[in-house]
Symmetry: C2
Subunit: 146 residues, 2 copies
DNA sequence: ATTCCTGCAAAATCTTTGCAGCTAG
DNA sequence: CTAGCTGCAAAGATTTTGCAGGAAT
C-alpha cells in the first residue's frame, strides 16, 4: 500500500496544477481516496466526510470523484450488482480479488499479468491501453467459517 | 463462436427443464442471446425483438435476461460507463478485448489465463469461483485509420 | 473581482415491481 | 385449470444537472 500522506499530496498538487480550487470539502474527499481503506463506495465516502462536514451533499462527492477520475488519480471499480467502489491509493489498473461472502477486496501481486497482456496484444493485434482484471471467490476466513 | 442454433436449443431445454414456460417472446429473446452478435445491450435486444413483437416491453426483456442469467446461460458485462452488454453465445467467463474507438469486442484465446488464476489462488488463499478479465485498447482497423 | 465550487432540489437514466389480464402446459 | 408470463405504468435506485449563493485565488 502506498503511503496515504504521499498520495494525498500528489493528488492535491495535480489538482492545483490543473487549475482546480482547493476547498476543504475537496480536501476531505481526497484524503479518503488517498487512503481508500476498504475500497469505499460513494456512500461510504459521503458518510465519512459528513463527520467533518455535516452539510456535504452527495452531488459534491460525485462531482469530485468525476474530477479526480479525470486527472487519473482514482480507479473506479464498477461491479455486476451496479455498485461502484473507488481506489485512490493505487489508481492505475491492477488486479483485484473479491470475496463474494464478506466483500473484502485484496490486491495481489501477479507476475503472470504482463505475460497475459502481451499474449492479448499478440493474439488480437490491438494496442492495449488499459485493463480490468478481477477474480471472485471466497477468502480463507470465510472458508474457515463454513 | 458456438453454433447459434445449438446454443438456442441448449438454453430452451434448460429453461424447460427448470419448469419455465416457453413463450414466443421468450424464444425471441433467447434467439438473440444465442447469437449475441456484437454483444448486444438490453436496448439492442429490445429493438431487435420489437421487429417481430411490436408490443414487447422493456420490462419483459429485463425479466428474461434475469431469468436466463439465473440459469447461467448468459454472461453479463457491465462497463465503466454503466452500460451492460450480454453474451449468451459463450456464457462462461472469458476474457474480452474491447476497442475504445469502435466498441468492437473480441474474444481471444489465452493460454496464460489458467496460469494467472492459479497464481491468484496461491497468492491469496481464496477459493476462486469466477473472474472478469477485460482489456481495453485500439483495434488494428482503428489504428490504421489514424 | 472573477472564476470556480457547493448545496439543494429537480431531472435523467437505468432497472425493478405491482397489478390485471392472458397463455402455455 | 392454474401457475407463470406479459404489458403497462408507476416506483426505485443511482448518478447528473441547473441554479443561486459563497469561497478560493
Amino acid at each position: 500500500m502506498a503511503d496515504p500522506k504521499e498520495r494525498f499530496e500528489v493528488i492535491v498538487r495535480k489538482l492545483r496544477d490543473n487549475g482546480h480550487k482547493i476547498t476543504p470539502q475537496r480536501l476531505a474527499i481526497v484524503g479518503i481516496l488517498a487512503r481508500s481503506e476498504g475500497h469505499p463506495s460513494v456512500e461510504d465516502i459521503h458518510d465519512e466526510v459528513k463527520k467533518d462536514f455535516p452539510t456535504m451533499s452527495l452531488a459534491t462527492v460525485y462531482r469530485n470523484i468525476i474530477l479526480i477520475k479525470s486527472i487519473g488519480e482514482v480507479l473506479e471499480l464498477g461491479f455486476p450488482d451496479g455498485s461502484n467502489r473507488y481506489d485512490g491509493n493505487k489508481p492505475s489498473p491492477h488486479p483485484h480479488v473479491i470475496c463474494v461472502k464478506c466483500k473484502k477486496i485484496v490486491d495481489p501481486d501477479l507476475d503472470s499479468l504482463d505475460e497475459l497482456k502481451n499474449e492479448v496484444a499478440q493474439a488480437t493485434n490491438f494496442k492495449i491501453l488499459n485493463h480490468r482484471v478481477d477474480f471472485f471467490g471466497i477468502c480463507s476466513a470465510c472458508l474457515a467459517k463454513e
